[in-house]
Symmetry: C2
Subunit: 763 residues, 2 copies
């Protein structure tokens, strides 16, 4: 069923709503920039951070541009109509460009807002004003996310109509791929600087965090902006775009072209809700920033559900038989599409709320699990690490269980129809993302207030009351960051589950074009989605293994890069005793440069692994095992991501509990143990954990894109098993070559470490 005139009008209106969201973003941006910029000393520090962050992102974009160009060329090698291929490649670049732009915007504004928040904290109404600026900064990013997502997706629908799915795959893939690289690169940068700064500054020299004598302190602040701001913003844009893309593809599959309209309507509702959330979230009187943010979230969620339901009752007919795409076997479905759609959106929104609550329970400073981890500081660092891992494992299980329950609920709604279930899962994801505007705003809050505190500490130009306000804002930021990670990974599961439908569609379509039979039992086994087939199970195992390898590589990269920073900081202190006395300014730029160089070098390995592992499995074993592989990445990925994020979150807040005076407070053995736990958690929660979200999407989209090519070389008369195995071997070689390269870098850092140790013994 083709897109009718009314639908075209609706989609055009949605594109306009997207543009309006961008205008709102621009207005909010002006409001943020209009605030006071504080003292000259504060401005000088902020400028160093701005320059470092811009330099890193520019170099990162130059590196990634090459990579994107290569991928763009590879997309042309896949089978298909050349018009569609051009559209897909163009929108691949658009998706990647939007991800990059959102990331850059997030960083650019955050490095300006931090200064303004620091300045505002000392003024009258410091708390409310500081929170307002920090939250508005996030609002800019949030509105830009929904605006660019809506504009991009509705443009594709308007331009390509029935062919939109293939082009949307390109758009989503571009967004996810770039976001993954920004998550990994930024994550390595921020944690290498943070861990390196802490290990020498806090632990060895006993100087406070953000002390200007620490050569790594500017790098640490740059890291907050390129990792937590730029990486996170790109990641949330990617979540938004891929979820929308999945919903559109599945709507098209289930109900024809008209099926693409309703997901866009739900998402447009999200844009309105986001604007509302940003407008209503303000700190009233003495209430904490968290109370204001929670209120903003719950009001947005409620309004989102009501508006989406209203849209369903206005737009959708009362029976499945009346749906424009009633030709797809759902005519006999007994439910009311309006109710079914509203309930799916409701499940998504409730899911977001429950994850908010569970994450808060496991990582909050007043909850039992975190208090338990804090108590284990009494028996030393080993028990802190163990108890944090235990809490992380357990919280991962509950979060995952809730996501699984949501999928089951949607499945029941669909009454056993798999295509409808997949579409409704995507719709639930769109429902979840009606709150994305508020969520991005919440998340950006964290690094901005963290940086503001850093600027205040380094400049010494903030009043004691102002400093206390900034500390409070920073603590709120810690909680909101953990929450957004939980929500981001939930969208990954929903999007990936739904994209399974596109994958199966792509395979089915490709098989229809094949002449001749499958070509024997072995090929038939390669095409089977049967989970009890050993070769499919091998796919599941390899999928899980890829998540473990990716996580291990990301953590290793931080350990290595942080090790190099430690040696550099120690060298500066040793070569220049004037740094510790405050007479000489440390060489901040050297540390920033090292972080930039190392993180750009390190991001290649996990990135290549993510892109090439599905190619190796798909061409090597077949489309059945590749489906198993995706299932393995989803299951292990969500568990690993939540485990890493929540372990890190609970260690961070257990440290805060000690610093607030429990078990001996700052400087006690309990505090030393808590700091070790927190340092272990740093790459968990800010590098490996959050990068798994785009990883899952990248691997899913790569699989959807290559599925027709796998079918073409594997089955029928034209099967070419030599070509198939060659592709698999080359992909394996690229992925493992990258792993070996990272091993060699590890050996180099080890050598330097040994040499430094020996030099110390001689000296």
């Amino acid at each position: 069923m083709q897109l009718g005139a009314t639908s075209i009008t609706i989609v055009t209106a949605i594109a306009v709503i997207g543009l309006a969201a961008l205008v709102v973003a621009a207005v909010l941006r002006r409001q943020v920039l209009a605030a006071g910029e504080g003292t000259a000393s504060m401005q000088e520090i902020a400028r160093a951070v701005q320059e470092g962050a811009s330099a890193f992102l520019s170099r990162q974009f130059r590196t990634l541009a090459v990579f994107a160009a290569v991928v763009c060329a590879l997309l042309f090698l896949l089978p298909g109509d050349s018009g569609i291929k051009i559209g897909r490649s163009v929108f691949f670049l658009v998706g990647a460009g939007f991800s990059a732009a959102i990331g850059f915007l997030g960083m650019w504004l955050a490095t300006r807002a931090n200064l303004r928040v620091a300045a505002a904290a000392s003024g009258p109404e410091g708390r409310a004003e500081g929170a307002r600026i920090a939250f508005r900064t996030g609002g800019v990013v949030g509105m830009a996310v929904v605006g660019l997502g809506l504009v991009g997706a509705s443009l594709v629908v308007l331009l390509y109509r029935g062919e939109a799915p293939a082009v949307l795959e390109g758009f989503g893939f571009g967004a996810a791929l770039l976001a993954m690289f920004m998550r990994v690169g930024g994550g390595i940068f921020t944690k290498a600087a943070d861990v390196g700064a802490d290990l020498v500054g806090k632990v060895e020299q006993g100087i406070p965090e953000d002390d200007p004598r620490n050569p790594a302190t500017i790098a640490d602040n740059v890291g907050d902006n390129v990792g937590d701001c730029a990486g996170m913003a790109a990641d949330l844009f990617e979540s938004y775009a891929v979820m929308l893309v999945a919903a559109l593809i599945l709507g098209r599959a289930a109900f024809g072209e008209e099926g693409m309209v309703f997901p866009l309507i739900v998402t447009a509702v999200g844009a309105l809700v986001a604007a509302l959330g940003v407008a209503i979230t303000r700190v009233r009187g003495a209430e904490s920033g968290l109370a204001a943010i929670n209120r903003g979230f719950y009001v947005s969620a409620l309004v989102g559900v009501l508006l989406a339901s209203a849209a369903a009752y206005v737009y959708l007919p009362g029976t499945f038989a009346e749906l424009p795409g009633g030709t797809t076997g759902l005519e006999g479905h007994a439910g009311d599409p309006r109710l079914v759609a509203s309930l799916a959106v409701l499940i998504g929104v409730v899911l977001a709320g429950v994850i908010l609550w569970v994450t808060g329970y496991f990582t909050g400073t007043t909850s039992k699990p975190t208090l338990h981890v804090a108590r284990t500081t009494l028996t030393g660092p080993a028990t802190v690490v163990l108890s944090g891992i235990g809490v992380g494992f357990e919280s991962a299980v509950y979060t995952t269980g809730i996501i699984a329950a949501a999928i089951c609920g949607v499945f029941l709604l669909a009454g056993g129809s798999v295509p409808l279930a997949l579409f409704l899962i995507a719709l639930a994801g769109c429902g979840l993302l009606t709150t994305v505007g508020v969520i991005v705003a919440m998340d950006t809050f964290g690094p901005v207030s963290d940086n503001a505190q850093g600027i205040a500490e380094m400049s010494g130009d903030v009043t004691p009351e102002g400093a206390q306000i900034l500390t409070d804002l920073d603590a709120v930021g810690n909680t909101t960051k953990a929450v957004t990670k939980g929500i981001a990974i939930a969208t990954a599961v929903l999007a990936a589950t739904a994209l399974f439908g596109s994958y199966a569609d792509a395979v089915r379509t490709a098989l229809e074009d094949i002449s001749g039979g499958l070509g024997g039992d072995l090929v038939e086994a390669m095409m089977s989605y049967d989970i009890i087939n050993p070769i499919t199970l091998v796919g599941v195992i390899l999928g899980g293994a890829t998540v473990f390898l990716f996580s291990g590589l990301a953590i290793d990269a931080v350990t290595r890069a942080a090790g190099a920073i430690v040696f550099e900081v120690r060298r500066q202190f040793r070569d220049n005793p004037g740094i510790m006395t405050g007479e000489v300014r440390p060489e901040y730029a050297r540390v920033v440069d090292m972080c930039t160089r190392d993180s750009l070098r390190e991001l290649a390995t996990p990135g290549l692994l993510a892109a090439f592992a599905p190619i190796a499995v798909g061409f090597g074993l077949g489309v059945g095992p590749l489906a198993g592989f995706l299932a393995g990445t989803i299951a292990t990925g969500v568990l690993m991501a939540v485990f890493l994020s929540n372990s890190g979150g609970t260690w961070d807040n257990a440290k805060k509990i000690i610093e607030d005076g429990s078990y001996g407070g700052k400087g006690s053995p309990a505090h030393a143990a808590a700091v070790i736990g927190d340092t272990v958690g740093d790459p968990f929660k800010d590098t490996a954990g959050p990068a798994i979200n785009p990883l899952i999407k990248v691997m899913n989209l790569v699989s959807v894109l290559i599925a027709p090519a796998i079918v073409a070389v594997s089955v029928g008369e034209d099967a070419n098993h030599t070509l198939r195995l060659t592709i698999a071997l080359v992909a394996t070689a690229i992925a493992f070559g990258a792993v070996i390269a990272s091993r060699l870098r590890a050996a180099k850092v080890d050598r330097e470490g040994r040499l430094e140790h020996e030099a110390q013994l001689v000296g």
Copy 2:
């Protein structure tokens, strides 16, 4: 095809071989006990360890007997012929009894051998004689494992013929269930005592390990015997029994009753090879114990492959059409069954060898990854923990990849026939287990020499050369322990993959008995093994989640129990200053009692989770999602198990590198950091990691057993969805009730910890 007269003779002969293995075990046992028992002081210490270990195991068996009786009763509730049900229940008890007996034997002999190894080390030929006794001790356990396994399985085949599979399920389930509890209970005991002893003794008081002044030192030695000896022996028996059971069930399914003979022949070859391995493994001159053990392994492996191939060429026909069970659709298979079977066995043996090598690479004291972890001690405990986790993740990926490659290889051999592939996977597992005799012997080596060192240190009655010999033997034990864990988990993957076949068979048979249609789309979805079905994917996610929860619970249990031990040991030191001066003997028995009580209480939670999670998923979501669940447990389980074992192994050996003098040696900050890493690794490698192996089997066998019942309540005219959902809810409630109970215990330890801290502040 029924069992012919020749086959009956062969199976009877195999049962006799099993009995002969038991006789060899008895002879070896007498040899071990004949060695000298050392001084009175050594005997006194050994007696305390013996008493503590016996007391723990007796109490554990009493607890587990109740549990086994309940499970036995539940087995009767399942649908089926009552004669078979009685046989299954009886052999469930036999399997459980064999597991318990092997565990008890392992502990009993080890607590006597440790003393004799300690005594022998001071004598002439100390190294060779000490290694001989330690290795013979393992030989007793190894021969008992193969003997009881063969006797039990061949007895079932002889008694039940065509009905043997159902009875074998009971036998394997009993073995796996008991082994899982012994792994968890013993693992918690040993690591609670070890971590507790180290945290106060080594870290706080600065006294050496095994110092008699430490009140937890006897408990630590008891733990080695109940965890590493009893738990490991039961676990390897279970691996052996379940692998054999899987091969017999699949042989029956693929080739009729005659199909059960060849797996028994391969396993009987393993018994001969085990006897050979024990006989030839002896230390020559000044060579290390490891060299001798490796030689024993490789010679056994080679002989095993040759004998198994010879058996294949003698016993099997030249084409699949000539096989007695040629009715199963394999008549047209082009391969030579003799070659195919030999290659499958070869793949299994090669898999064992490669895992041996990879594990050695990632955890050995001279390999790059361990040296890297040792170097990170220079930058503090946090980087040690991070680098060890990175190494663990990476090694898990390679080990898992190798197992996956082996499955793919077998799959190619089967030429795309799934039933044949499943049977060959089981056969490869039997091939892998031809080396089990040597492997058990290797593994037992570790705790015996560890304990011998403890007795030597505590008694002070061993010469310096003797002490050095014992230290060397202990280091060998560390490596062999890591290797056996890798091999055990490989058998778990192969057995579980193969058991998928039995699961599908059970479902298919049950469906054939159903009258009426499936009953709607939703029920049909519940029956689908299709991995792209969202509800199957939910199963995969829940399977992975169960592994995370189980691991988290096991680690938490150790953290909690160790915390309680720390407070008790501190109390003893505080209340009785004479302990530190050596005037007063500490109250060893109190600590042993606490460990016993706590570990028996703690083992219930993970145990109930393992038994009830598949019931909840199967009855709640259906047989399709339950298949997904099993796939999720296998994939996540193998990764998690290898990660936990190898991280622990690499931390342990990194600590040894420091203790051998690198980076400052003992007492340096690097050493303190390494000790923290090692302590984190303790529950990883000795509690959670190894327990995942029996966990996977227990969940698989529970699923196979309940599959007909799920079908009966879910589909057809007699479907009873109220009953189905009630069972699912009760199972969920039991599993989560256990989790909540463990949370309450955690709160209690936290309260004690807080009180002790406050008492100290006042004091």
